[in-house]
Symmetry: C2
Subunit: 392 residues, 2 copies
Amino acid sequence: MSTIAPFARSEFDRRLDRARREMRRARLDALLVTAIPVFRYFTGYHPIIGESPTRPWFFILPLEAEPLAIIPAMGADDMRQASWLRNIVTWPSPRPDDEGVGLLAATLAALPARFGRVGAEIGPETRLAMPVADFDALRAATPGLDFVDGGAILRAVTAILSPAELARMRHAAASVDRAFRDLPDRFRHGVTEAELHRDFQAAILRNGADYVRYLAIGSGPGGYGSICRGPVDRAIDAGDVLALDSGSVVDGYFCDFDRNFAIGPPDDGVKRAYATLHRAVDAGIATARPGATAAAVWTAMAGVLDEAGAEAGSIGRMGHGLGMTLTAPPSIHSADQTVLAAGVALAIEPGLFYTARDGGRRLMVHEENIVLTESGNALITRRAPGEIRVIA
Amino acid sequence: MSTIAPFARSEFDRRLDRARREMRRARLDALLVTAIPVFRYFTGYHPIIGESPTRPWFFILPLEAEPLAIIPAMGADDMRQASWLRNIVTWPSPRPDDEGVGLLAATLAALPARFGRVGAEIGPETRLAMPVADFDALRAATPGLDFVDGGAILRAVTAILSPAELARMRHAAASVDRAFRDLPDRFRHGVTEAELHRDFQAAILRNGADYVRYLAIGSGPGGYGSICRGPVDRAIDAGDVLALDSGSVVDGYFCDFDRNFAIGPPDDGVKRAYATLHRAVDAGIATARPGATAAAVWTAMAGVLDEAGAEAGSIGRMGHGLGMTLTAPPSIHSADQTVLAAGVALAIEPGLFYTARDGGRRLMVHEENIVLTESGNALITRRAPGEIRVIA
């Protein structure tokens, strides 16, 4: 973190401006934010104690009044030092009878009400970071206000990454990439998935990430069966295919990509699966540009899999948005008609099933991160090699 | 993880039995679970991809029918391998029009309805892990059912730790303790908070934790100002007091404790603050036993601080429950009348402000983890030394 300059004040001004533009279009008097990453996005302050469910943290962006934060008193000193925001209201938490709800209701009710509508995190892919009972009480206490989904607006605003945000994602990706590069040197035959899982996290941290929030591992003879799970109790050895998939974070921004390794020479089935997925990623990347839909990126990758006679992998989509969360809308999916825009980061993630030498079914997944530019896109990750890396 | 035996099937049976006892008392026909740690608690399967907000994971415990999980299809193979639960229903996610809500509504509506009440995560300290709009739709689609808070029951059930659960917490605490023990050897003068923050995470992982979910750091000349924040851009050197506070995880169970270090000889103010807090922790531990209230533990510690003429620290409480989350009810707070029971784990966490040699105000916090036994309690952490550790 010390090597990255803090966000400039102008960056926050642009974020607020963009949000208000969207709010005007959606006829919202205010946005209510509870998700910690979005609270951080607007205020520049990261309440790490948000990991605890005891105390919610609220940010309110009015359309026509000063933004403010309503937070537990314990966080006020820290936040005043770290945030540009001066308008910070507190309550002495824990206070189970009223964890900020009274303040919230009074604040929202007193705002200029042009539309009578407040956007809150209630729609698809949101997780409201306050108890539902408190949110129900808030709605009941403000009968003049209609709470509608603000999640789509928040995603639209946060999806467009600035150069400074992108630098953080590149830093996160580079830390994981370096850990992948050194993996063959560190690998010991017979290491358990659990040992490797810990070792690889430590390597990512040593290489500069702030946190490892997600690390999936898959291994098995001739291939693995899943890449959405933590370690199981097995030793990794010759004949195995190994994959690691990490969501790591620098200053609040995620990368999310995987790499595959063969322990000893891979068989033809593994090589074929790898080559097909590598081409599928290429096709996805070639298609992802402003104006294209998420579905079009899916179709391009599905075409490569079809042509190879491969059965698409089981994870239900072939990629997703990312940024301040491990995944974000859109889904790279046949039914997702989201039109892509410059500045949006995507994980391109095709997967397929193939038949291993023992006749069993195995899964392989490739994943790269890209950001859309005006003319196409640019890699955030360093592209995986064209042939599977072999650990001797 | 490979060194810990998986939970026995009987452990899950006991969890279900205990939950149903509480449900009967609370007149609930079913419990609806969305929080990933609680989903894992009942099913034995940890959907690590729950880090992504795209797809919710549901567990339903009926009072008088078989428990079932309603999950994204992508997770079914993994879950069938890892869980004792056979009744797994899936939908092809992502499917934004209906992310499992239709299945949920149909399932809940078809259950034996003795009371017409379903417990869901809606009360204090809960975070519903599905979109509120979907929960509203579920409530609207099941007019015969009353959704009431199930959070208190879930906490009551999960709070009582079994020996197997406690072993995981001890393992987590030991991994952090070993990282603390070696810290003076690894410390380099002039290291930045960010560098130390990464190095310490890697050390915890090397020492056996599965994940570092939380790591706060505070440092400053003659003391720090906060212990609820991530690293800031400063170098740590002679004259500083340093604290690290980590919530680390083994097989889903947290420890949460801190340690303080003086870089070079501490001044009298630091020594006094340390000694007072050490006595306060002793007083808290001496008070925590089955039948005592959380408030009584607070009072015992507050008494020590008062007697020393110290101003209580700013974090608003002096400890909390823990287990499958970094913090859980109760709060060690004057207003929390929760009666403690054997098997409950607590973080004992007094803090105080003191005047540093430069005349400024500094914070110090001590923290230990204990578990209540029939006759009192036992330490989960290795008790901090009676005098602050000095890094030469």
